[in-house]
Amino acid sequence: MSHDRDTTEEHPGADDERGADLLRLRSLCRSVFPPEPDEAAWQTLLARVHASVDGPAGRGRSSRPLWGIVGLTAAAVILASLLTRSLWKTSVPVPAPTPAPRAEEPFPVAEADDVTIISMDARDVAALVVGEPPVSGTLVFARPEDIRVIRCERCPHSGRFARLEPGEEVPMFVSAAAVELPDDGPQK
């Protein structure tokens, strides 16, 4: 349905590198395509299609009628073997079918709304990028009421505790305090 394609689909990401690469690859594919069959080959092919679709076999019939016969025969053999087995009440173990190996399947691309960060290790903060870089909009800082300290642990390297200072003009300020606290210091 070419009429309802939107522009971004017709020229996916034409402004970015990815879309440009894909469009270049598409045009390169066109430019290096081998010669196509001649008209006689096409007409032969069309005649075969007509023979299968419009022929005496009728519409909806398979192009390979032998397959139907083979399928019916196979079904009859399977049915007969099942009946025989049920009559004889044999208990031959049937090996479970081996699952076919799956083709390599890349993960679908997640949308921003699909992701909810529940928790993360503080050491991974540097690896987290939220939003679509580069940031072009206004940076919005968290307000004091947006922050809730659930747990505070001693820094494994310095041995110090962090201290939360709400401040008055500055939205929030967290600094490491060189205060020696008991070993079981503030936990909540």
Binding site: M1, R18, L28, S31, V32, P34, L46, H50, E104, P108
Partner: protein, 197 residues
């Protein structure tokens, strides 16, 4: 009592042609075939790398697409439906025939590029360059997984949009974009070689 069949309008849409075909118009199938034989062949060829195999896949695809129209039900365009069936037929055929690894008869084999260059010294340089590029592209495509390859071929040779590819492969647009992203990454070397030509 003879049955009167209404004439199929000139310049009919695909849907009208399918209706005419269902009503018994032989020419309707001719027109559908003429419209889509080229993209169908290109998709099949790119997946199989062999002309005779590609023609078999096109034949199988047209027959299945027209005899299994109940699976189509107008949810997508006929072209999308046809290319889905043709590409699946091509992949099935490739598996049955041990996949000829997209080596066409006119494309130079591994290590034969230089000799092909010598053999074609009296030919037009442009033709040689095209054959080399075609070979490079076929090698690059061979490095893709089957679904990535099918997705890329439907995009590049079938000229389907993301949405149409998603319909053809019965998956989400996000997955199509993901597959094309991986395909693009793997084919970038081909692009850079192309830039160096």
């Amino acid at each position: 009592m003879a049955t009167l069949i209404a004439p199929c309008p000139h310049g009919a849409s695909d849907e009208q042609l399918l209706a005419c075909h269902a009503a018994g118009h032989r020419q309707a199938l001719d027109e559908l075939f003429r419209r889509y034989r080229q993209p169908a062949y290109r998709v099949a060829y790119r997946l199989l790398g062999h002309e005779a195999d590609a023609l078999d896949a096109v034949q199988e695809g047209f027959i299945k697409a027209l005899t299994h129209l109940h699976g189509f039900q107008g949810r997508s365009s006929f072209k999308t439906w046809l290319l889905r069936v043709v590409s699946n037929a091509a992949l099935d055929l490739g598996r049955q025939r041990g996949r000829r690894e997209a080596i066409s008869l006119d494309a130079p084999q591994n290590g034969d590029v230089a000799s092909a260059r010598l053999l074609s010294a009296d030919e037009a340089g442009r033709g040689l360059e095209r054959a080399d590029l075609r070979h490079q592209l076929e090698q690059a495509l061979a490095s893709l997984s089957e679904v990535q390859r099918q997705t890329f071929v439907l995009f590049a040779d079938g000229e389907l949009s993301y949405r149409e590819i998603a319909e053809a492969m019965q998956t989400s647009i996000g997955t199509v974009m993901s597959r094309l992203f991986y395909a693009r990454q793997k084919l970038r070397s081909f692009l850079s070689e192309r830039d160096g030509v």
